[in-house]
């Protein structure tokens, strides 16, 4: 967020939703700021889509309040909310042309025809579909349908654009391209986007902030970097990226450092500033370390803070990266280590003993 003092646009307080005896949402509290790209990330069934549909006005909360732009949305129907949605299926009206689809909402506002035509063309140009207004809806490709759905929402100039898994129907290459375009468009327009996705990579690359949801609750609300570097618990850590979990025990803190006994890596001290607040040291039983935070020290590589020795059990070559499975002493499972394939760096064969370097500040504590 570039803006120095973020203005809240959506306020969720104690939002709960029951479907019969099933509790889909168990009290959601969150504030989403103006101009923010906010993602709701979680596995299917975590309640993220229900929450989005409640913001849109398609579902009514069982309890709690939803405020948009300082106004309580209780009793305000979907057609009078300052939000517009891009549906997962795109919901392009099949009997209307591209221009009629995009101009659909403007027509309900009873704007003059010429103005609608101008705004529609502007919106189409914004999503790189300029001049395609006369196309029939069924003549569009998947990517084009997605753009029409986006233009149809943006042309309404809503306070908030809601996106329900908008990229899940596209193939990988198109999806990557649309991620970049969506993000650029959002930053250019400065409109708040709320994205629902189960794809952690999508959430990480596009969002200003991410709310990770499990079982109807927000498990962690943080920036992508914070979420990746400092996941609040093991479940979040394994949901976002790859994480090596190692047994550990806290030996006690002194002089601003915390002493840890990690059988697989040895005894270390980590700065107390990296210990999350409210974490009971007695309960620490696991530490996590990302594959890229472990380094196989080839000859001539830079020195790292800590070094241990492991045995390569297998390798997976990905072109730009190589993923090693390495057995560390005192740990029952292999850890994953990712190494960038730079010029002149050979790939350690399976069975070879390698020095593994790491740093205490890359350790994440879990209880």
């Amino acid at each position: 967020m570039a803006s120095p003092s973020p203005q809240p646009i959506i306020d969720l307080a104690g939002v709960t939703k029951n479907f019969g005896t099933f509790q889909a949402l168990k009290g959601i509290d969150a504030t989403i700021n103006e101009g923010e790209f906010f993602s709701l990330l979680g596995p299917s069934g975590c309640g993220k889509t229900t929450l989005l549909r409640m913001i849109a006005g398609f579902e009514t909360p069982t309890d709690g309040t939803i405020m948009i732009g300082g106004q309580d949305m209780a009793g305000v129907p979907a057609n009078r909310r300052p939000t517009n949605m891009v549906f997962q299926s795109y919901a392009i009206f099949p009997h209307l042309s591209v221009a009629e689809n995009v101009g659909y909402g403007l027509k309900t506002r009873k704007l003059p025809k010429a103005e609608i035509a101008r705004e529609v063309e502007q919106a189409l140009q914004m999503v790189d579909l300029g001049g395609l207004g006369s196309r029939a809806a069924h003549e569009l490709s998947g990517g084009q349908r997605q753009r029409v759905a986006l233009a149809r929402a943006l042309v309404m100039k809503p306070k908030v654009v809601l996106l329900d898994e908008p990229l899940s129907a596209l193939d990988k290459k198109l999806r990557d391209q649309m991620q970049v375009e969506l993000r650029q468009l959002q930053q250019k327009l400065g409109i708040t986007f709320i994205l629902v996705t189960h794809d952690q990579e999508e959430a990480l690359t596009m969002s200003d902030r991410i709310a990770v949801m499990f079982d109807g609750r927000i498990a962690q609300l943080a920036t992508p970097e914070e979420l990746y570097r400092r996941p609040a618990d093991k479940r979040i850590a394994s949901f976002i990226g790859v994480m090596n979990f190692l047994d550990a025990k806290a030996m006690g803190g002194m002089n601003g450092h915390l002493a840890l006994d990690i059988p697989a890596l040895g005894n270390i001290e980590m700065p107390s500033s990296l210990v999350p607040e409210g974490l009971d040291l007695q309960n620490i039983d696991t530490v996590g370390i990302r594959p890229e935070m472990l380094t196989i020290l080839f000859e001539g590589s830079e020195q790292t803070e800590q070094v241990t020795t492991g045995t390569v059990t297998s390798t997976a070559y990905y072109g730009d990266m190589t993923y090693y499975s390495v057995r560390l002493p005192g740990h029952g499972e292999d850890v994953t280590i990712s190494m960038r394939n730079t010029a002149g760096r050979s790939i350690a064969p399976a069975g070879s003993k390698v020095p593994v370097g790491w740093g205490a500040d890359s350790i994440v504590l879990f209880q």
């Binding site: 006005g57 398609f58 979907a78 057609n79 099949p94």
Partner: protein, 277 residues
């Protein structure tokens, strides 16, 4: 052994198919044949071409009344049963309610109920209610048997309607009524037209219920039946039958054409939406 069996079944399947078609359509072809035959007696050999039997129809006053009655009954039954069918199909597609399945089966029951039973039951009921027999009672009876057909046709139209289209419309600021007018109606229109055409055709052809429930004003099939008693009228009845046959076939083709065109326009495979005709 296997190839012999295959040969046998392939050959006899073709014979069976041809025999079936002859059985099904030969009587129907006789109708126009004798309608254009220049003789009062319905028998072979044909004795020459004429269109005078159609001329006789034109001059029969009683027939005109029957045609008018049938049109009134057909149009009313088609509109009423299509409206009822649309409500039922919509409810079946959108809402979940207790006993939905058994309720839908009960609505569809008149489709397989013997018509004579329905006709007698309705007659008894109307007598009990003290309602005089008229075209209104015929319309009521026809709505009863047409509605299941309307539901069957409209079900596929409403089932194929993606709920998110309606949500998208609300989301873009449109009201419920506006959404119905701008999204739902245009998308189910082919089904509605198809239902109107088919229920009209059913009502136009229906005899038993019309026979039981009509008062002094007869519909076309009842009129035809009454004319069969007079051998001299037979060729003109054949002519009338030919017109009705052509009209029915035309209406059914039109109904199917509407449905397919709409499916094509939406980029859906026509067979996927489930045709009726």
């Amino acid at each position: 052994m296997k190839s012999w069996l295959q040969l046998f079944s392939a050959k006899w399947l073709a014979v069976y198919a041809v025999a079936y078609m002859v059985f099904l359509y030969a009587p129907v072809i006789l109708l126009p044949m004798f309608a254009f035959n220049d003789a009062t007696v319905i028998s072979f050999p044909l004795s020459g071409f004429t269109s005078k039997w159609f001329g006789v129809l034109w001059e029969t006053e009683a027939l005109h009344g029957a045609v008018r009655n049938s049109l009134i009954v057909g149009l009313s039954s088609a509109v009423l049963s299509t409206m009822l069918g649309a409500c039922a199909a919509r409810a079946a597609a959108r809402y979940r309610f207790p006993l939905k399945r058994s309720m839908m089966s009960f609505i569809m029951l008149p489709l397989v109920l013997p018509e004579i039973i329905v006709a007698v039951a309705l007659l008894v009921l109307l007598m009990q209610l003290g309602m005089p027999l008229s075209l209104v009672t015929v319309v009521l009876g026809h709505v009863l048997i047409c509605t299941p057909f309307a539901i069957a046709i409209l079900n596929s139209a409403f089932q194929g309607l993606d709920l998110s289209l309606e949500e998208a419309s609300y989301d873009l600021g449109e009201s419920r009524w506006g959404t119905f007018r701008r999204i739902v109606l245009p998308l189910v229109m082919p089904g509605v037209v198809s239902s109107l055409l088919i229920t009209f055709t059913i009502s136009l052809d229906e005899f038993i219920i019309a026979f039981f429930l009509t008062g002094t004003e007869v519909t076309l099939p009842v009129y035809i039946w009454s004319q069969l008693r007079f051998p001299t009228k037979l060729p003109s009845v054949m002519a009338l039958g030919t017109i009705l046959l052509a009209l029915s076939v035309l209406l059914l083709i039109l109904a199917e054409w509407f449905r397919r065109r709409a499916a094509r326009k939406q980029g859906i495979e026509a067979s996927a939406t489930g045709g009726f005709a």
